[in-house]
Each structure stands twice: as C-alpha cells, then as structure tokens.
Symmetry: C3
Subunit: 102 residues, 3 copies
Amino acid sequence: MNTTPVRRVTIIGAQSLEETLISETRSLGAKGYTYTVVHGAGARGTRPSNWTGPNGKLEVIANAEVAERILEHVATHYFDKYPLIAYVDEVSVLRPEKYGVD
Amino acid sequence: MNTTPVRRVTIIGAQSLEETLISETRSLGAKGYTYTVVHGAGARGTRPSNWTGPNGKLEVIANAEVAERILEHVATHYFDKYPLIAYVDEVSVLRPEKYGVD
Amino acid sequence: MNTTPVRRVTIIGAQSLEETLISETRSLGAKGYTYTVVHGAGARGTRPSNWTGPNGKLEVIANAEVAERILEHVATHYFDKYPLIAYVDEVSVLRPEKYGVD
C-alpha cells in the first residue's frame, strides 16, 4: 500500500478541556480527532495537585503546518494554567487527503 | 535491552466492527491485538454522518508483510463503506517472535 | 516549536498489575505516566489462557536510560509470569525537563 507520513499530535489533559480543545484544534486546521479516556500523573511540584484523575488523550492527525500550529497554541494558552502534556510523532496513513495532507 | 523494530497497524472505526476486524486481522496473520474504546470525528462530507460516537481503536503489532496485508484488506473492504481510518508506524519490541517477527 | 525526541515505553498487561507497575516505573525514574483501559489477546500457547479480558496500557515518557531500565525490569520480573507485552518508540515533546530529559 502507498502510505504517506503525517504528523500525529497528542494532547493529554483534564477531561473538562475536551470540548474546548477539540473545537480549537478544528479552528487551527485539524480535519478530525480521536479522543480516549485515560488517567495519569505527572512530575510532582510542576503541575497542579489535581493532576491525578480522569483525563483524556486527544489525538489529531494533520500536516506539519497544522501540527505546529496546535503545539504552539497549547504551549501559549495552556501550559501555564493547566496540567497538560503535548507531543508529536509520525504515522503513515492511507488516504492522506483526509487529514489535509497533499 | 535488545529490541526489534516491528510494524504497528492502527485501525479506528465503529465499535460494531470490532469482532469482525479482530477476526479478519487474525486470519491475515496477526498474532494478537489491543483494543481501546475511543470516540472521534473525521473530515466533514467525506464520512457517513454517524461517525461521531463510540468507536474503537484496534492496534496490531506484526511483521511488515502482515501489516501490509491488513492495510490492503481494510482499504479494499472498508474504506468505501465505513468511516474508518488506518495507519501504520513502528515500535521496538522485546520478544519479536511473539508477533511473528524473526 | 522546539521539540525534543524522548522515549515512550508502553506496557500492556492485566489491570491487576496497574498499581505495582506504576509504582515500579516511578522507582526506576519515570516522572509520570498515562494509563488507558484496553482489552486484547496475544499469541495462543505462549500466554496464560486468561489473557483476553480487561487489561491496561501504561505509557511512560522518559529519557533513554530510564526507558532502558523499565524494559529490563519488566523483562526480568514479568515476562515469565504474566501475559504482558512491552515496547518502546519515540515521540517529540515540548518541555523535555518534565520527563527527566535535558
């Protein structure tokens, strides 16, 4: 199969942020998302104390430009205020046009 | 630790497809799977309108040949009929023989 | 955004192992984790027969040394006794210091 490498951005944070984050990533160019209920904990002393508990993992597959925009957005608007982590990796998709990749 | 790079195929689609997809990936050579309940949405206008809702993420770790076979299978039998996405990436495993990798 | 490549170790096994594995990965140097309820099945004949059922996926982002330590730990203490799989891949994070990466 002919697959195309694209970016997958993952954001993990409180479930209360789900709708807002989904809406914002759409505004930034994401064509879709996958959301998974998870729980977790982060480095002590560097996150609010309520970090342990129900959280969600938002995954967005996008082209490099949209991925970059999403990372910048969460770094600017969330990192200071919320216990949230964000990372990016690469996956190879079929039908890249579905994710805004030519 | 001595790890071996293998393929991880991910298929995300309606939960109603779970049993069929698991059974078909086994027939195509997969030795196991991991299934996670998720929800999500995709590109508007290019998927059936019921795409938002409970879905599942099926992950299969396999050798390159089996991974290719699974991608071809879902592209041929699912993409026209179901709101389903599929992608592949690489992870490094311990005990590669468990996944059909020499 | 300036991102830094780090290791993500994934361990999938029975939910009953959750607390122990989280505690042990912390002792080995992990700064946090994400835990997802999943289910799955593995190679027949090579795992205990109760492998199908509620399991959990533990993901830990760490530097290379801690990742290696965790893989060695599960290989030494779990592989003979439990139906458990472990693998590692790489993701690129913002704020690498949160994961013990300089």
